[in-house]
């Protein structure tokens, strides 16, 4: 029998196995709440892993573009933290999982959005991207996400128009956070448009993997060497992904998959294994909680086989502590 070891070929063969296994899963529906999204091909399916050494492994439709939707929230949050620091950002948006749906119209006791992953919190986060003009603010967002992906990204104009025309609930949320002075009243609707635009940025599963690898690699894109995010913001960003990244499936996700991740209703999931890999999946059929049905399965499979879960028995905890005192488990050795 052929030997399938050696880290590269093992990862590639696991991706192939996952693709084969879950290609036939047809649970869930393509999102329709933004009219333009309903035109997506439900059969598209792509999986990509990008390593902090700058290698990629992929299978399926990894060149297929789709709009980022909520996945943009995590990168703009990392940008906001890089620009203003955690203390300042936390004054206006919390880090507590709400357990509510992403579009929940509810604030915490300090009248902040519960976290940056619900829409109200994401709009608040986008407000932290300042600039002299609307265009300069947009350039800052697009340039940062492009740097994280390692290529020049662009926006899907039709999806943006569709979101902007129908996003009345998000308009209501914008006024709600404006009412509590979490964002500036002078340009709040401009901020909302920026939010719609960031959600409409086109990416591929490969882009998600590379963005994930950039987060995994302490904020530096491992393919281009460009520093994208402040190293200090990475721990905060991954924490919010871990607790709030998968809508109201976040607890179940932490339990079953156990890595920080963010999903979007267009069918993408971006996952991060800190200091090791980024994972991107794309399959537009989403479940009732807004997460890609095939994507969840792929992540669960890879987590099991590669031991990715934060609390997997093979994960040692603090490397610093190991270096400090040589703490190793000897409990089971006889």
């Amino acid at each position: 029998m052929e030997n399938s070891f050696g880290s590269g070929s093992t990862i590639q063969s696991l991706l192939e196995q996952a693709y084969k296994e879950y290609q036939s899963v047809d649970e869930g529906e393509v999102a329709t709440y933004i009219p333009e999204l309903s035109k997506a091909n439900p059969d598209h399916f792509g999986i990509c892993v990008a390593t902090v050494e700058g290698k990629t492994f992929e299978i399926g439709d990894c060149d297929q573009e789709f709009t980022m939707q909520s996945i943009s929230k995590i990168l703009v949050y990392a940008l906001a933290l890089s620009l203003h620091g955690e203390k300042e950002v936390s004054l206006h948006v919390g880090v507590e999982p709400s357990g509510d749906a992403f579009n929940s119209i509810q604030l915490d006791k300090k009248n902040r959005a519960f976290n940056p992953m619900v829409n109200a919190g994401a709009i608040t986060t986008t407000a932290f991207v300042h600039g002299a003009t609307f265009e300069s603010r947009w350039a800052k967002i697009l340039d940062t996400l492009s740097a994280a992906a390692g290529r020049t990204l662009r926006m899907d104009e039709k999806v943006y128009q569709s979101e902007s025309k129908t996003g009345h609930r998000n308009r209501a949320l914008t006024w709600l956070v404006t009412n509590f002075n979490q964002i500036e009243a002078t340009n709040n609707l401009e901020t909302l448009e920026l939010y719609f635009m960031q959600c409409s940025i086109l990416v591929t599963a490969r882009d998600l993997a590379v963005m994930g690898a950039t987060l995994a690699n302490m904020g530096t894109n491992p393919f281009t060497g460009k520093n994208v995010f402040d190293v200090q913001c990475i721990q905060a960003t991954l924490s919010v992904m871990f607790t709030c990244g998968m809508y109201d499936f976040a607890g179940e996700w932490a339990f079953r998959v156990g890595i920080p991740a963010k999903s979007g209703i267009s069918g993408g999931i971006l996952g991060v294994v800190n200091r090791q890999i980024g994972i991107g999946t794309f399959s537009p059929r989403i479940d009732e909680k807004g997460n890609s049905s095939r994507g969840i399965r792929v992540f669960q499979y890879l987590s099991e086989e590669l031991g990715l879960h934060t609390f997997n028995f093979m994960n040692h905890g603090s490397s610093f502590l190991s270096g400090l005192s040589g703490v190793e488990s000897k409990v089971l050795t006889r």
Binding site: M1, N3, L332
Partner: protein, 105 residues
């Protein structure tokens, strides 16, 4: 696929594993682990072990140790050996060059 062939060397139970030990096949090995005694997992024909497979091995160890038993690995293929070394797994379970030396250790 995973096949597990059982034999004896002295009082030790030898489980010769062949194929893949992963999330799918792990339960096959789990079911073969006796309640006690010295158990050797001979891995000469095992060409893939995933993290989920390592968990099965650890479970076997935890099942045997409280009753005075022990679990030993033997005949690891070079790539498997390397993986287990680098991941620190060999600090949990002892490994031997072949099943005879494992059974008699």
């Amino acid at each position: 696929m995973l096949t597990v062939n059982e034999s004896q060397i002295g009082t030790a139970t030898i489980l010769e594993c062949s194929g893949r030990l992963d999330v799918v096949t792990g339960p096959i090995l789990d079911a073969k682990i006796p309640d006690g005694g010295v158990v050797v997992l001979d891995m000469a024909e095992l060409n893939y072990v995933s993290s989920a497979g390592l968990r099965s091995i650890l479970q076997a160890l935890k099942k045997l140790q409280p009753k005075g038993g022990s679990l030993r690995l033997s005949s690891l293929q070079p790539d498997v050996q390397r993986l287990l070394e680098l991941s620190g797994f060999l600090s949990l379970v002892k490994s031997f060059p072949d099943k005879d030396s494992a059974a008699k250790a």
